[in-house]
């Protein structure tokens, strides 16, 4: 995963129609759910359906959310879906590094049994309790399989016993946990974290505002629960076009100044030295990588990023 993974779209594993379509909306990653979106009575029967879908789906990163360790279903879920084509197991309700290591062991054994290359299947722990948030850095660093961690904001606000279902648009209830997770996963040397879902699926404006807050805090992308959110998320989590333009100007101006023997200048009133230039290069590279990716996928690059 060399570029940002902006949009992670869920589909309930037991609904064939949704599973069939989930890869067609331009999401960077799709998550087939065996957990909360599937009725308890259907969970075991859903495994072979998800297994077939994992083998077939082409394009996005293919993820499966298994049931949590407290359910006793995790091992059967992992064994049922760890086949060629599976990229990531999403581990719900992760609270300790040992939770990750237990699933890691199941995945390693399943890889060996299936003849998959060791380390092929990665893990995405969902942190969705106060305990999990406090242990996030240890969770992120628990295994080399961990891609990053995701904040399960709905369950987290429930665990905090917040007196609201719809938190504020600026997300002040989640601000500390969101900021903490970014530091935690970077301290563990992992790519930036993923923000939890925005549950008001018809509120497009609120969704964009929620994405902006998460992006500004350092999130690479967001868990999505509705296909209509994909395009907006892909746009919101890509570098801002104005920012990219400024980065280009920074590099041009700095390169010229460097030739004149100066390595610390100002551009439009902003102080620039080598670390700032390096940051500008990284932002441009990310924007270009995402453009190329969207073009390969045949999707129209989100408006405003066309040049």
């Amino acid at each position: 995963m060399t570029t940002a993974m902006r949009s992670w779209l869920f589909a309930p594993g037991n609904e064939p129609r949704k599973v069939k379509k989930v890869a067609s909306f331009g999401a960077d990653a799709i998550i087939l759910d065996l957990e909360d979106a599937v009725p308890n009575a259907d969970k075991v029967a859903t495994r072979p359906m998800v297994r077939d879908a994992v083998r077939e789906i082409q394009g996005p990163l293919v993820c499966v959310r298994v049931n949590g360790l407290a359910t006793g279903l995790t091992a059967g879920d992992v064994d049922g879906v760890a086949v060629e084509g599976l990229d990531v197991i999403v581990v719900p309700k992760t609270e300790t590094p040992e939770d990750v290591l237990a699933v890691d062991a199941m995945v390693a054994a399943a890889e060996r049994r299936e003849g998959l290359p060791a380390g092929r299947v990665r893990l995405l722990p969902l942190v969705e309790t106060a305990r999990g948030v406090l242990a996030a850095s240890a969770i992120a660093g628990a295994s080399p399989r961990v891609v990053t961690i995701a904040l399960g904001s709905g369950d987290f606000t429930r665990d905090l016993e917040l007196p609201v279902i719809r938190w504020s648009l600026e997300g002040r209830e989640l601000a500390w946990a969101r900021a903490k997770l970014v530091v935690d996963v970077r301290a563990a040397g992992r790519p930036r974290p993923l923000d939890g879902p925005y549950i008001a699926v018809r509120d497009a404006e609120g969704f964009v505002a929620d994405c902006r807050v998460a992006k500004s805090l350092g999130y690479q992308g967001k868990i999505l629960i509705h296909p209509s959110q994909v395009e907006a998320a892909n746009r919101a989590f890509a570098p801002d076009p104005d920012e990219v333009a400024f980065c280009r100007k920074v590099i041009e101006t700095f390169t010229a100044a460097e030739k004149q023997g100066s390595a610390s200048i100002t551009v439009d009133g902003i102080f620039v030295d080598y670390p700032i230039v390096e940051k500008a290069q990284r932002i441009i590279a990310l924007a270009e990588a995402l453009d190329a990716k969207d073009r390969r996928a045949g999707a129209t690059p989100p408006a405003g990023r066309q040049r």
């Binding site: 006793g72 091992a75 300790t96 040992e98 290591l101 237990a102 062991a105 390693a108 054994a109």
Partner: protein, 291 residues
């Protein structure tokens, strides 16, 4: 159910005939081995043989244990998938290095034993110097843990420590202390220097008993009788324990907290030691009665 764990017979899991023989010997526990006693290529076969033996053999009241592969190996996951855990009385776990290992083990076992089964107990092996220094925390890490086992063979391989009573005194005492601090049993390795020398096995068991161990692994049928004997309180020990406890209770009834019994100073600490003797005697007697 409290098991006496005086003698635990470790048997390679890939040899069906030896598993069948094990449940005929006069041991408190049989330990079917899926770890170092089985060549790597034979492990899939051993899992089948052990699963079949657990399903079919009548262990006659002997505790049925399986030594699984270590935490962090994919073999452990395959072991847990293959075993009928409702027919396993305890898991014997090698190479436990820290409390994290115990925590991962708990999660894995819980996933494979299913929700309806009573939690399977653990016997945790301390056999590396790093684990020795963490033994107390390891012993206390899970409510499933019933005993610590000291693997002196691997320990000596890592430290260069000789396999003599003097050289093993400190690690053995630390294991016994760790087990005592968590209220679990301490079980010593087999005397493997000369497995056919029954008297040497007895002498080695006496040293372990003096340090606080309540049982030993055995490798050879000839080791069974001396080891059971050493870890079974004698009639004289039982009688003395009963009289000390009776005398202390009588003294306490009159308001005294200490007394002299036959020239011996007795206080609550001695009483607890005597109670432990009686508990071991009762566990041993229940084994004898179950045969």
């Amino acid at each position: 159910m409290t098991f006496a764990r005086r003698s635990l017979l470790l048997t390679p899991g890939h040899q069906a005939a030896r598993l069948a023989k094990a449940v005929t010997l006069d041991v408190d526990a049989v330990v079917f081995d899926l770890e170092d006693g089985v060549p790597p290529g034979s492990k899939p076969e051993a899992r089948k043989v052990v699963a079949r033996a657990l399903g079919a053999l009548d262990a006659g009241g002997r505790e049925r244990m399986v030594r699984v592969n270590g935490v962090g190996t994919t073999d452990l996951v395959e072991d847990l998938r293959a075993l009928p855990l409702d027919r396993v009385d305890a898991l014997f776990v090698p190479k436990v290095r820290d409390t994290g290992h115990v925590a991962v083990l708990e999660r894995l076992v819980a996933c494979y034993e299913g929700a309806r089964h009573a939690p399977v107990p653990f016997v945790l092996t301390i056999e590396t110097p790093d684990a020795l220094f963490r033994a107390a925390a390891i012993a206390a890490a899970s409510r499933r843990t019933v005993a610590l086992f000291f693997g002196s063979g691997d320990y000596s391989a890592e430290t260069g420590c000789a396999l003599t009573p003097d050289a093993l005194a400190v690690p053995r005492a630390l294991i016994a202390a760790a087990a005592g601090s968590a209220g679990v049993q301490a079980i010593d390795a087999a005397f493997f220097v000369d497995v056919r020398d029954a008297e040497a096995a007895r002498a080695d068991a006496l040293v372990a008993r003096a340090l606080g161990f309540t049982g030993k692994v055995v490798f050879h049928p000839g080791q069974v009788a001396p080891v059971n004997d050493v870890f079974t309180p004698t009639a004289a020990e039982i009688a003395r324990a009963r009289s000390v406890i009776a005398a202390w209770e009588a003294a306490r009834a009159t308001g005294d907290g200490v007394l002299l019994a036959g020239g011996e100073f007795v206080a609550i600490d001695i009483v607890r030691m005597m109670e432990r003797v009686l508990a071991r005697a009762a566990a041993a007697a229940s084994r004898a009665g179950g045969r």
